[in-house]
């Protein structure tokens, strides 16, 4: 008979490390999807997910079972991703001079026919990644959680550990930061 999450966690806490494996199997897809929002290289993604699971194992005692294990784990994942962004913020690209030709084409088409450009185009996805990489770590986290994942301010507050007013302030600043980056694209390419 399959054991419940609570039983697995209790067994791990009693010293049965093998009971942790079903939890890794169950939740790794979600943790990988989260990590891929913040890291591009697959090796970096794997490092982040590995760190999340090691932290989860070490801090399992602090899981009180009041909220679902998934929520606790996702908090850990988001905070680990934020730490990753902060430690790699020097790698943020500094210029848009190296926009690829397809990206240029996509932008060009967007300018002339905004409704006609495809959202699933590779060029569009690359451009989004390029813009997100330019954002500061808090701005990228807020834009990802609030705008892309469509989470509420309260949810973001719980995930990040920031207060609700701080999330609001950071969201306001993040949108302004993103517009500034987009203005730079427009200036560099079309003015």
């Amino acid at each position: 008979m399959e054991r419940t999450e609570a039983e697995l966690i209790a067994a791990v806490l009693k010293g049965d490390a093998a009971s942790f494996e079903p939890l890794i199997e169950k939740y790794s897809p979600r943790v990988f999807a989260t990590a891929r929002r913040y890291a591009r290289r697959e090796s970096e993604v794997e490092d982040i997910v590995q760190e999340v699971w090691l932290k989860a194992y070490q801090k399992l005692k602090s899981f009180r079972g009041e909220a679902p294990f998934e929520h606790w784990l996702m908090r850990l994942a988001v905070r680990t991703c934020y730490d990753f962004l902060r430690s790699h913020q020097r790698n943020r690209e500094s210029a848009f001079s190296d926009l690829s030709e397809p990206e240029d084409d996509w932008l060009e088409r967007f300018i002339h026919q905004p409704g006609a450009v495809r959202e699933d185009a590779d060029a569009a996805q690359q451009l989004v990644q390029r813009v997100l990489q330019q954002l500061s770590p808090p701005a990228r986290l807020v834009i990802t959680l609030l705008e892309i994942e469509d989470r509420s301010v309260k949810e973001i507050s719980k995930l990040t550990g920031w207060s609700v007013p701080l999330v609001k302030v950071r969201a306001f600043r993040a949108r302004a930061e993103m517009r500034k980056i987009l203005a730079k694209i427009a200036k560099d390419k079309y003015l």
């Binding site: 942790f20 890794i24 990988f32 997910v49 905004p114 959202e119 185009a121 569009a124």
Partner: protein, 104 residues
Amino acid sequence: MKLFDLQKKLIAVARANPPSDRVPLAFEKRIMALITGRPVQDIWAAWAKVLWYAAAPCVAVMLLFSGWAHIESSKKNETPTIDLAQQLDNTLLAAVDQSNDTAR
């Protein structure tokens, strides 16, 4: 070009293309190997380890001072003079001696 529209479009692009949730083959086995291979963190064990590492230098310092003290004492036995402890006593008690003298 309206920046707001571009921003909205790019957000829509990001929403329309969620990242893959693919997990590398046998990833959970890799994590389990790391977890089981990692020693359990025990603060007292770590403290005992540090103390154990410190024991050798402490013994070495103790032996050095013992040797030095032994050599010094054997030298003094050859040429009897007032030793350091006696000199320290004299210096510290000089004020008391003086006050005793003046009291008389």
